[in-house]
Symmetry: C2
Subunit: 188 residues, 2 copies
Amino acid sequence: MELFAEQGFAATTVPEITARAGLTTRTFHRHFADKREVLFADDARVPDFVAVLMESFPPSAEPITLIVEGLRLLIEERFEGRKEALRARRDLVRSDDGLRERDLHKRAVMAEALRTGFLSRGIDPTRAALLAETGVTLMYVSVAEWLDRKDDRKLYDVLLATLETMRAELTQENVPPPAKPIPRTSAR
Amino acid sequence: MELFAEQGFAATTVPEITARAGLTTRTFHRHFADKREVLFADDARVPDFVAVLMESFPPSAEPITLIVEGLRLLIEERFEGRKEALRARRDLVRSDDGLRERDLHKRAVMAEALRTGFLSRGIDPTRAALLAETGVTLMYVSVAEWLDRKDDRKLYDVLLATLETMRAELTQENVPPPAKPIPRTSAR
DNA sequence: TACAGTGATGACACGCGATGTCATCACTAG
DNA sequence: CTAGTGATGACATCGCGTGTCATCACTGTA
């Protein structure tokens, strides 16, 4: 983290890292699959957390309730009280395409854990996928706003507000659009 | 594509590709930023397509209408009629983590284009982010189901059905959950 | 027709990331 | 004291990706 802060992620080599840590590059790659993974190793257990959590809910629980409650626990566990550190981490991830890709991958893994959990609760595949994606979207959008905010609003409260916005957006009755006009643009 | 099909993505080296194509590796990297990009170069213009499209809609258009109509055009442009090719591509992308990461990155870029479009339409940041994420989720979930289906249902029809499912899911009035009990799990 | 400019490619060198393999060493159980 | 185990170091090696310079085809212009 020191080296990344000093000279950026891409400009920092694994040999530099291991030199400062007093190890060899080979040892580094025994602990981290690749250089990017250093910044994401902490999140490795999140999918398990999600899976265990989902099993603990009674079968009667509504999916949305389950998502919101699960995110509430996740927030307590790893977000609340770490705002500054998370901001620094976000900025670092933003600065490098490779890191952004890995971040998105972690997000997808979490969505997959959610989807699997819904499947074993007997929810049909498409609905499960949709719920999973909606859940991570809710989380990521809320976290983004929370990190941007300068007040002390709780992440959980931001999340509930985001959910309301989401709901309001979709509730409007303006779905089936026409099927002809519309300008033409070349995308190929 | 021949080599990837024969021996998989990871096992195929850039020298192998350029040898079969009659070029050098240096030339390869002048056309593609990296090896993975070969499979995604076709999508490079999608963000522009999205941006231009969004500007072409009247300011009065509802965001959801805009998303659905935009996706309808995108579907006509690059999905309908290419089902088998898209299935093969999906399977290849699924087979490699690196490719999955790049795929997610492209998805994020599209979301970003959508978000920017909404911003310049005067929509507030959080709502814009939410709409953008919802839009790509709608697209990806629908495409996934469409590719899984064995019937000839149109992608656009699948998409409308997905949107209805999404709406139904969020419309239920079971939001603010309690805030105390719930089991405990270690995620650290 | 000659010539300068432009763009694509080849040739070469190089650094870094990542992995396989074997040796070494600290630690532990019996 | 010994055998086993796990972490690490020491090499060696491969593939990816980039910087640099030379070459060649093509184009517009005098």
